[in-house]
């Protein structure tokens, strides 16, 4: 049987972290009474016009720069037409002809065979990033055969990040999306929380034989977590392979991922190819961005966006932070991945290192094995940890000064988790966990043990 090459591309919509919407002054907020965060423009009432939010443009520029894109100094807005109850205008304002950023790349890491010690770096090309409006939310009430529409989300700014089909499986896609999520959160351009719909991923999947042209692709939607993303893609790859090996064909269709059943199903309401009748948005002129060289002399600062100014102020991206952690503390690359993968863990680690004499290479074990596993067991975030960095550092100091053994330290830690407000020293004294340093006292104890077990001693001496 000839091998199959799966091809995976992604379209990711990230909600921009801003106070107000892309083209109107209504508030951006996840949970709010229905239709309370809606302006006349968002509801598409006649006579209203779009006014571009500066912060949204800056967010898109930051993201484009972080993803190594070329920023288009002139980009355009277009209308994409389709009818749906949660799109009151009947069109979405997007950037189809000339988006704000193009031709970037994203590097991400994968563990080979699930071993964290063997990590490989991969790259996926970023085709483009475009600014566009989000739609409202539809709640389907099948029992009463109606749809309830909440426009709170209508008009919120989105960055659509298009990743070229450089990935080959669910694991790669998941790793790429995870890294993008961390980058967006580091930049602050999006909080990228999938559970709150701030990061939505659609996967384009196809399979072909090596050397042959790409196969027909399907689009998979309705994926609500990174874990499900990997599952959905792997399922779809398998489904397509089985279909083709059984002599069937793949339809160029849109499918939804059913997380309960773990499979993809054709989506209704998406029959036939859509014709969006793109046209330039007549109410918005081109978006012009500047850099240090092209900065106009006489323009109001508030009206000017300087790409170089934004570039200079980009924070350290996750890949840079990891490298610095490895260099500064001598920890392994896979450790740096885990540190950055948990919100607040890297900061906790650095805080402990500052407060203890124990070497970072030893501290990391306590952070990644003891602290992290405890937090995971109890579904706590680092911020919710009953053991503060101060308490942990204090404990590690006792260990470092050889006042207690490693085993005793684990015992003390178990006690500290209870969060009863005791210090390590108090627990050590309570449970008599002090290491004996007195040679004479040690000899006395050993002799007592030997005296008390004369038979066993004879057996041991005889071998």
């Amino acid at each position: 049987l000839a091998p199959w090459v799966p091809v995976v591309g992604l379209e990711i919509h990230a909600q921009i972290s801003s106070n107000s919407k892309l083209f109107s002054g209504s508030k951006v907020r996840f949970a709010a009474p229905p239709n309370s965060l809606v302006s006349f423009f968002d509801a598409s009432l006649p006579g209203t016009l779009p006014v571009l939010n500066r912060r949204c443009v800056e967010a898109a520029v930051m993201t484009g720069l972080a993803l190594n894109c070329s920023i288009n100094k002139k980009s355009l807005f277009d209308r994409k037409h389709y009818f749906y109850a949660d799109l009151p205008a009947g069109y979405q304002i997007t950037q189809q002809r000339v988006p704000i950023a193009v031709n970037g790349s994203l590097s991400y890491s994968l563990c080979i065979d699930n071993k964290m010690s063997q990590m490989v770096t991969k790259t996926v090309r970023i085709k483009q990033i475009q600014l566009e409006q989000d739609s409202g939310k539809s709640l389907h009430d099948d029992s009463r055969s109606q749809t309830l529409v909440d426009l709170n989300r209508a008009g919120v700014g989105l960055m659509e990040v298009v990743m070229e089909p450089d990935m080959c499986c669910g694991e790669e896609a998941a790793a790429a999306v995870r890294e993008l999520q961390l980058i967006l959160q580091t930049l602050g351009s999006s909080q990228a929380v999938m559970a709150e719909g701030q990061l939505r991923v659609d996967a384009n999947v196809s399979v072909h034989h090596p050397g042959e042209p790409y196969g027909v692709r399907t689009e998979v939607k309705n994926i609500n977590s990174i874990r499900f993303l990997a599952k959905a893609i792997d399922y779809e790859i398998q489904r397509q392979i089985e279909e083709l090996e059984n002599g069937g064909t793949i339809l160029n269709e849109t499918r939804a991922f059913d997380s309960k059943l773990g499979c993809t199903v054709p989506m209704r309401d998406k029959e036939g190819k859509q014709d969006y009748r793109f046209m330039p948005e007549p109410n918005l002129p081109p978006l012009i961005l500047y850099d240090a060289k092209s900065l106009p002399a006489n323009m109001n600062h508030q009206q000017v966006i300087n790409i170089d100014w934004i570039h200079e102020r980009l924070p350290d991206l996750p890949s840079v932070k990891r490298k610095k952690l490895v260099e500064q503390y001598g920890i392994l690359p896979e450790h740096s991945f885990t540190l950055l993968n948990e919100d607040g863990l890297a900061e906790f680690f650095e805080s402990v290192v500052k407060q203890t004499q124990m070497k970072p290479k030893k501290v990391i074990g306590w952070i990644l094995k003891d602290l992290l596993s405890y937090l995971k067991q109890h579904s706590l975030t680092v911020k919710e940890s009953p053991v503060s960095s101060f308490l942990l550092a204090d404990l590690l100091n006792l260990l470092e000064k050889k006042e207690i053994s490693s085993t005793a330290a684990k015992q003390v830690l178990a006690e500290l988790w209870k969060g009863e407000g005791k210090t390590s020293l108090e627990i050590v004294k309570e449970q008599k966990l002090e290491l004996l340093q007195d040679q004479k006292e040690l000899e006395q104890i050993c002799q007592a043990v030997i005296d008390g077990h004369k038979n066993e001693v004879i057996m041991m001496v005889l071998g």
Binding site: S18, S20, G25, V38, V51, H140, D141, Q303
Partner: protein
């Protein structure tokens, strides 16, 4: 050049417009002919124009402040039907009935 029935159906589906009768279709064809006159102009090597104002048409950038919203009651006044501050819509897009099913079937087409 006539507009085929397939194109007509496609347009009606996209725009949710009912061309109603032969006269409506004729008007559509005349409109297309009128717009086709644009093709008579040679635009080879000419950059598309966004506006006659050219670069004097500046895109205004708004500060990221909350200045609107909070008018649920007013917005819902426009709704024919509402349920607890939600707009009510049919369960999915209602497709335009096929040409044959309509009262205004194109006669003599």
């Amino acid at each position: 050049q006539k507009v085929s029935v397939e194109v007509l159906e496609h347009l009606e589906h996209l725009a949710l417009v009912d061309f109603r009768d032969a006269e409506g279709v004729e008007r559509l064809q005349k409109a297309i002919q009128f717009a086709d006159q644009l093709h008579e102009v040679n635009t080879d090597g000419v950059e598309p124009m966004d506006s006659v104002l050219e670069d004097r048409w500046c895109l205004y950038l708004r500060e990221d402040n909350v200045t609107e919203g909070n008018c649920t009651k007013e917005l819902l006044e426009n709704a024919r039907e509402k349920v607890e501050e939600y707009f009510v819509a049919p369960p999915g897009n209602i497709p335009l009935p096929k040409l044959e099913e309509r009262e205004t079937f194109l006669e003599g087409s």
